[in-house]
Amino acid sequence: MNDGATTPSLADKLALELRRGTLVLATLSQLRSPRYGYSLLRRLADRGLEIEQGTLYPLLRRLAEQGVLEARWNVDGSRPRKYYQLSRAGLEAMEGLTGEWNALVDVMTGLLEDPQRKG
């Protein structure tokens, strides 16, 4: 979360809204095995999805509260870290969301290829 003085353009704001809709599925897709927040942040970034810490951490907490993720502290490493992993309900939710996403991609592809849109 950057509190700099520049104001995002309208295109940036709309793009942000679009990306926001994908964050939950993107996050769940990387949590079949346990990961802590920072490692998840880096993994998503390495795969092309930049997400701010101020967005990811509250999201992880919310998903854990909803029972989609299991969270536990691990104090064995060099520093205590909170690990997250898909719960059974989370796995089912992710599979459902994946189906929804694939259907949505088909719909959007059709809409964007619509001859009427191209005038």
Binding site: N2, Q53, P58, R61, P80, K82
Partner: protein, 318 residues
């Protein structure tokens, strides 16, 4: 690392207790991971820490991100304070109205006459004043949520983590207690000027209520003290810290308040024989005058505490 501790402290202050420790711990772990990745072999510099904290965002923004999204009349950040103020204010109002009712009964010629009807009247007054008080409290908090920007993330210019207050900073103006003071004072001001007949206080110079002149002569002074106090609270809410100037302003308000309370107590004491002649039992009139003197005594104690704080801070070189 002091900067990080101060940052985590500021984030934690703005979170509910149930989240505080866990979020701080997780943020601390993340910051250490990030700094380790960015740092050179000699460890992170202060500038590395400043840059990272600025990227993460102001503590207020970070804390706000842990609250659920949505539009609120009174948002999650302010809601605990809102509930606390509401409960205490409504309880205090009910107690005040009941005490005024009891005094009116005792002062009257027939204390137990038509008691049922009069009790019904008391309940009706508690309901009316309570409803208005609830509306005032909601309005104040809704204003704080929107205009004051206390409940939501604010657009802010670039900020410097090095300006964050130290952990355990004695000059920090506690947000919860400042909001509480502001709302209770606003409530008291509204009741004193709009609903004072409901709590047995005079409405106009011709009113037959006891201590009529004492109250009306000093009403503008009481209003001035309360308004000055509200102004100081609003400033502290905005600035977040006490400074020498605000502490001196607090002392000036205390002094003026003490002066007003002393005037009222002296005038009440001077009217004791009048109270007895009007039919008030001697014991009750003694309680009234003792209570009137107790108020400046309490205000004097607050004044001593506030002066002590200024002297203490001066001796510490602040």
């Amino acid at each position: 690392m002091d900067l990080i501790e101060r940052y985590l402290n500021e984030v934690g202050r703005r979170l509910p207790k149930s989240l505080r420790d866990d979020v701080r711990r997780e943020l601390s772990s993340t910051l250490e991971d990030e700094l380790e990745e960015r740092g050179s072999g000699n460890g992170p510099s202060e500038q590395d820490v400043v840059d990272l904290l600025q990227e993460l965002g102001h503590p207020e923004s970070v804390a706000a991100s842990y609250h659920p999204a949505g539009h609120y009349l009174v948002g999650p950040a302010l809601y605990p304070s809102f509930l606390l103020v509401l409960r205490i204010s409504l309880a205090a109002l009910a107690a005040l109205l009941t005490a005024a009712f009891a005094l009116t009964l005792l002062a009257g010629p027939d204390p137990t006459g038509e008691l049922g009807i009069r009790l019904g009247g008391l309940l009706s007054e508690i309901w009316d004043v309570g409803l208005t008080s609830f509306a005032v409290i909601v309005l104040v908090f809704a204003g704080l949520q929107r205009v004051g920007g206390l409940g939501e993330e604010r657009m802010r210019p670039a900020w410097d983590p090095r300006q964050l207050p130290a952990v355990g900073d004695a000059d920090l103006a506690g947000r919860g207690e400042t909001i509480f003071g502001l709302v209770v004072t606003a409530l008291f001001l509204v009741i004193l000027n709009t609903f004072r007949d409901r709590i047995g206080l005079p409405v106009d110079p011709g009113s037959p209520v006891l201590l009529n002149d004492v109250f009306l002569d000093n009403l503008w002074r009481i209003d001035a003290v309360l308004l000055a106090g509200m102004g100081l609270s609003a400033w502290l809410l905005w600035s977040g810290r006490w400074h020498t100037a605000t502490r001196l302003a607090r002392i000036a308000i205390d002094l003026f308040g003490l002066h007003v309370a002393w005037r009222i107590a002296a005038a009440v004491a001077a009217q004791k024989t009048t109270l007895v002649a009007a039919g008030l039992p001697d014991a009750v009139s003694s309680v009234v005058t003792t209570t009137a003197w107790a108020i400046p005594a309490v205000l004097a104690a607050f004044l001593v505490v506030d002066v002590g704080r200024v002297v203490h801070r001066s001796l510490q070189g602040n």
